[in-house]
Subunit: 416 residues, 2 copies
């Protein structure tokens, strides 16, 4: 594990320099990084071709190969992403708060980088550039550990990024890539408390679970969203409600902020549910419903099991349940939800406010699709992931969420 | 482990109620809790007498017995503590930020409780009341797991607190105490991700290390402080500097914000170090120094080893090192420090600002004692501990640090 210890030491040293660099220098670094990718696209594509070749030989699925594939467009997107991050405001050195104590001490709470961030991800090589961009901008060194199938692509990208950093007099160690992609090395990395301040896993549920359960370094858990749309009796615009349900379910079913369950107030169900089901069926959505839903919509609706309500389908399937009102909807979400994104559709003021207060989730929506839980949609300009835990950051994580703070305390001889 | 699962479920249910209760109700609860302790002091003292008896029979040290001991004064302090927390501002429902997106979505970032907080602590039974107070005020249910030696005292206190909650119509499950104090139960508790949102260990280094290494629930690490006072060449008031060094080392040597090392610029050492050493020796401090320190101060100074500079003595011992200037001081602190509290004593503006920027610590002081890193001293009114990690909270943790946030997003039909 000497490779990892060397990377850890390099990243620590680099973080000390990067953490006090000016935003101008960090932005110059991002521009150099973008240019390095553009100018050396052939080198990246060559490495990627070898990864793709290995993946095909290993019999990987077409979807897997697609995720692994780079082309000029995707390299252009990575470079654009670096420049977009450069254009964002500096998250460092902001004074969050400050006050003077009766004894004269002046306390200032100021944003600073986290330090060294470990990122463990899967087969998309663009994560290498995206994650590096966010870390560099926020003054954090990063240790990137991508999937073994993308190693050659990731190495080509990471080498170009490190080289670009050196050109603006920042340490190459600001962006480190782990080249030993063994399980043991990942395990070792997750225990490197001396070198890593935080670990962020990006990928599927099993990757995230493995990191959460094995890491000794503090983790920010991203991931699972079993999101609900609740159509309340006070919903006044049923066509709008149908549009929101359709959007939340079908606009991109594979992502964590897509809706997985639809709750409908019983009194509204006869007028709402048939039109909503029609629109969903037209888009190929399978409905799994409670007995009352089946009674209303007929045999095309599969019976929903207890398991269905717990499931994040990530697919064109929607569980449906009629509820007696707000209390049952809130209780259902509390039992089955994953505290990610939850929506109520209503024109009833008291119901909207009560739902917003009582539902425990990173984002609670009134009359909008759950699909907006996203760094870009929130206006953060970008995101490193969507936190599904309560510690440190909740919901979309942009640059601000990659910082911590320090207290600077100025005195003139104070003692206790 | 059925006991723990039952406590977990009770705490989860209680948190849902407590989290949306009014601050008036939470404050009434705290007052009831204070009265319950005062009115039933005899019951607490009786339980404590049995704990003390067992501790003495088990041959525990006098210091241990002292920490375990309750009396009317200490019970009064617990009640006062509950009332002081009641008097603090509500940390919940504060709007931290808010903005409108171009598509019309109104996003509001609002403080909410973390949910269920697990607290693992050692032999001081007053922690039971102190921790419960902070959790109730911040809308969090808590599962308290104290040391086995204090079980009867803790149970008496926790029963009174739970009973008081019921009197103001809050669930007794807001304050849960684990009565199985086995190692296995602690281990199991640390893995209860379904029920606990965060774990906070309070106690000695070995307890904290054990929690950090074994927990699957997110942990806030509190603890080790290897703090430095650096006397810079530009220090203009040497008597003030001596007073600060003496205070940082001796005012309460056993705590994490006490100084463990003194760094002195070489050019200042001949005028500063002898007077500082004299003051420290008068207070019984043992000095362990580098060769140059020994040359200046003579044979009374023990030679400092590499290990000394890494050590948090928590005792009347101070490591001393002469340095060539700011850069060496910053490098030394980076190598040996634990990022807790670091001080520079100087009248040089540039040196002060550079030290504040470059030293990575929860609190960086200019011309003040490191002993101020404390919730009370920072003006938080109270504290649950001092975080020594960068995730979520850094430095003293008051009520605000026991909250997270949710986004409430109000729309009028937005879809992606």
């Amino acid at each position: 594990m000497q490779e990892l210890l060397n990377l850890g030491a390099a990243a620590r040293d680099a973080a000390a320099v990067l953490g006090v660099s000016s935003v101008a220098q960090r932005n110059r670094a991002l521009e150099q990084m973008a240019q390095a990718l553009e100018k050396n696209a052939d080198r990246i594509l060559e490495a990627n071709a070898r990864d793709l070749d290995n993946a095909r030989k290993a019999g990987k699925s077409a979807a897997f190969v697609e995720r692994l594939t780079l082309n000029m467009d995707r390299i252009g997107s990575m470079a654009d992403g670096l420049r977009q991050v450069a254009a964002l405001p500096d998250p460092l050195g902001r004074v969050l708060d400050g006050w003077k104590r009766p004894n004269g001490l002046c306390i200032e709470k100021r944003t600073v980088p986290l330090g060294v961030i470990g990122i463990i991800y899967e087969s998309r090589p663009n994560v290498t550039a995206d994650a590096a961009a966010l870390c560099v901008k926020s003054g954090n060194a990063c240790i990137l550990r991508g999937g073994s199938d993308a190693l050659l692509s990731n190495a080509a990208i990471a080498d170009l990024l490190s080289g670009a950093l050196a050109e603006v007099d920042l340490p190459a160690g600001c962006v480190c890539l782990v080249r030993n992609t063994s399980r043991e090395a990942a395990q070792y990395l997750m225990g490197m408390r001396e070198y890593l301040d935080v670990l962020i896993p990006r990928g599927g549920a099993s990757l995230i679970r493995s990191v959460v359960e094995n890491a000794k370094v503090p983790v920010i858990e991203t991931g699972t969203g079993n999101c609900h749309v609740y159509v309340h009796a006070g919903c006044a615009d049923l066509e709008q409600a149908v549009a929101i349900v359709v959007n939340a379910k079908t606009q991109r079913p594979s992502v964590c902020n897509a809706a997985e369950s639809l709750l409908v107030d019983e009194v509204l169900a006869p007028s709402f549910l048939p039109m909503c089901a029609k629109a969903l069926w037209e888009r190929g959505v399978e409905l799994r419903g409670c007995l009352k839903t089946q009674a209303l919509l007929g045999p095309k609706v599969v019976a929903a099991t207890e398991e269905d309500y717990f499931t994040e389908y990530n697919d064109l399937i929607l569980a449906v349940k009629l509820v007696s009102g707000l209390d049952e909807a809130v209780a259902h979400i509390r039992k089955y939800g994953t505290r990610h994104s939850e929506a109520i559709l209503t024109n009833d003021y008291a119901a909207a406010e009560s739902f917003a207060d009582r539902v425990d989730a990173a984002a609670v929506y009134v009359n909008a699709s759950t699909r907006f839980t996203d760094g870009g949609e929130f206006g953060f300009g970008t995101e490193i992931g969507i936190s599904n835990q309560k510690l440190h950051a909740r919901g979309p994580m942009g640059l601000e969420q990659l910082t911590t703070y320090k207290y600077v305390v100025r005195g003139n001889g104070q003692v206790r």
